[in-house]
């Protein structure tokens, strides 16, 4: 194989590496193995040492760019211009980023800076015939397509969360710290303030179990029951747009087309009809259970189990039943 499979690591405002990046790195390493080639990572941050060391647990080689501008500016543009300088000097076999907000921003910017094609929102990636073969779930999950780059051209692939399980390499890789090279100037955007909001204890993208509430939950009080069941199952709380629009729960917990796409082992839906725009965010969950008083709600078409009944009555009985087992 000619070239290296590169991963652009995503770094948060606190300098930490995103969890999605170690999944993407694990994927890149296994693709490189299949291709008989190399995998490497790029980390751009004001102080990249921590994130680079973390990424190097998963990849044989990490190039870290110490970029002061990453402090106080929107991260993705800063990272993309530095990553572009590195990638332009290499001959990559492919470039992988996460398919979350930062990864998409980096991917879109790299696409334009380096004039490369992109395959997006991968649900699985294999290496075939010298390039990535990328599966995507389209049309609300009705179809899975496989796509490749044409004529062996290299391109950028964005990867969804939970496509692979992150696994460190047997031995950590080497980190090489570089000064920024200014080959791809971009207008940088200032961060003038950071506002902290009370965030959910466990981000829903990372949760193994999600208990979600919809309009049927009836109000913020109803979400206390959802939270109790989530606590009993060791899970996180999710919601539909109807619940978010009503102001019962923050947008960060919305699942669906305009919210997050999740893939937990268990998805328990309380008072959720299962509209297509919600379904696209959770249909790949391992086990889907609904509690709904309407036996004809769309969720009965794709759940494993639907209990027909009042969610408060069934929910409380469930808490008791779980308590008895604990």
């Amino acid at each position: 194989m000619a070239g290296t499979i590169w991963v652009v690591g995503e770094v948060g405002a606190d300098g930490s590496l995103a969890k999605l990046s170690i999944e993407v790195a694990t994927l890149a390493r296994s693709l490189a193995e299949a291709a008989g080639g190399d995998a490497a990572g790029i980390v751009v941050a004001a102080d990249p040492s921590g994130a680079a060391a973390e990424l190097a647990r998963y990849l044989p080689r990490v190039v870290a760019v110490a970029e002061p501008a990453a402090d106080g500016h929107a991260w993705a543009q800063v990272a993309a211009q530095r990553a572009a300088a590195i990638l332009a000097a290499e001959s990559p076999a492919a470039v992988l980023t996460g398919a979350g907000p930062d990864g998409r921003d980096v991917a879109g910017t790299l696409m334009a800076l380096l004039d490369r094609p992109a395959l997006v929102n991968a649900t699985a990636v294999t290496w075939e015939g010298g390039g990535p073969s990328v599966q995507m779930s389209v049309f609300g999950g009705k179809l899975v397509t496989t796509s490749t780059f044409t004529d062996g051209a290299w391109g950028i692939v964005t990867v969804r969360p939970n496509v692979v399980t992150a696994e460190p390499a047997a031995t950590p890789g080497a980190v090489e710290i570089r000064a920024p090279e200014a080959d791809f100037p971009l207008p940088l955007v200032k961060v003038v303030d950071r506002i902290e909001e009370a965030a959910a204890a466990l981000p829903i993208e990372e949760a193994r179990v999600i208990v979600a509430g919809g309009r049927g939950v009836g109000g913020p009080e109803g979400f206390q029951l959802v939270q109790q069941i989530a606590d009993a199952l060791g899970g996180a709380v999710g919601a539909t747009r109807a619940a978010v629009d009503s102001g019962w729960i923050p947008y960060a917990q919305q699942i669906g087309q305009t919210g997050k796409i999740v893939k937990p082992q268990l998805y328990l839906a309380l008072g959720i009809s299962g509209a297509i725009q919600h379904k696209v965010g959770m249909q790949t969950a391992g086990t889907i259970i609904g509690i709904n008083r309407d036996p004809d709600a769309p969720i009965t078409e794709f759940a494993d189990l639907v209990v027909v009944g009042d969610l408060f009555e069934v929910g409380k009985a469930l808490l008791e039943e779980l308590g008895r087992r604990a």
């Binding site: 543009q77 490369r116 094609p117 929102n121 049309f139 207008p187 919210g259 509690i291």
Partner: protein, 263 residues
């Protein structure tokens, strides 16, 4: 205040009738077309900002087949002032690179303070075009916006960007490109008056030649990605429906959880 909103006509997800043609391209005749849901949030924000400014216009720009005009009318009925539809037979089967080139060329022919794009599209789920268009045009790029506050006096725009821990407040000089989110607020429904008014609003159609682009190096002929396969996802098992007392329901849930080793 002049705002361009990039709106993509997409197959209506609610109709759930989408399919690919034998060539691996979207079969656009299979499904009714609507404005991409995420673009409506951006459009709503643009309409409110221009209303608040008291002057200016909201211009829709789409790249789509000729029937994109009908979808664009819906945006004009919501209150946008005019539209530019980039359409050309050579653009069928475009990949991201060609879509970006076409949108960039259309934007170069317009004057604006801000360009808005949606968070992603329901048919493509890329969320990459906004960043690419901004980069090609050399515009500051502000993404994941929950709030957009332009200030004409200082010529800057402030955006609340959704972050993992809350919001980052971003600031950049205008013109700039902003990618919106659902948090911008519920899009309005077109009023009857709006629907009537939309009939006489201007939609200009631009071919590749009108944009100074060459059909050989853009569009389907130049696509650098290929769909090599399509299959139905593995079917989920049948749904078990349990009716009975709350206790029986709770037991059924716990039994399934235990059987699948989830508790």
């Amino acid at each position: 205040m002049k705002i361009v909103v990039l709106t993509k006509p997409v197959p209506d997800p609610a109709a759930a009738a989408e399919r690919l043609g034998p060539d691996g391209r979207l079969d656009r005749s299979a499904s009714p077309s609507v404005i991409n849901g995420n673009d409506e949030y951006a459009l709503e924000a643009a309409l409110k900002l221009v209303e608040a400014a008291g002057d200016g216009e909201v211009i829709l720009v789409s790249m789509a087949p000729p029937n994109g005009i009908e979808t664009m009318r819906k945006g004009l009925a919501m209150g946008a002032h005019r539209g530019v539809l980039v359409t050309d037979p050579a653009l069928a089967g475009s990949d991201y690179g060609s879509t970006v080139a076409a949108l960039v060329a259309a934007l170069r022919q317009l004057e604006y303070d801000l360009v808005f794009a949606g968070f992603d599209t329901s048919d493509g789920v890329g969320g990459v075009i906004g960043a690419a268009v901004a980069t090609k045009l050399g515009l500051p790029y502000l993404s994941s916006a929950a709030r957009i506050e332009p200030d004409t006096a200082s010529g800057t725009v402030r955006v609340r960007r959704i972050s993992p821990t809350g919001f980052d407040v971003l600031e950049a000089p205008m013109p700039a490109l902003v990618v919106g989110t659902q948090l911008l607020g519920e899009p309005r429904y077109p009023s009857l008056k709006g629907i009537m008014a939309a009939r006489s609003k201007e939609i200009v159609t631009k071919s590749l030649a009108d944009l100074g682009l060459d059909g050989g190096s853009i569009g389907g002929a130049a696509a650098r990605t290929t769909v090599t396969g399509q299959e139905k996802p593995p079917a989920r098992g049948a749904t078990k429906v349990v009716r009975g007392t709350p206790e029986e329901g709770a037991k059924a849930i716990v039994e399934l959880l235990a059987a699948r080793r989830l508790i």
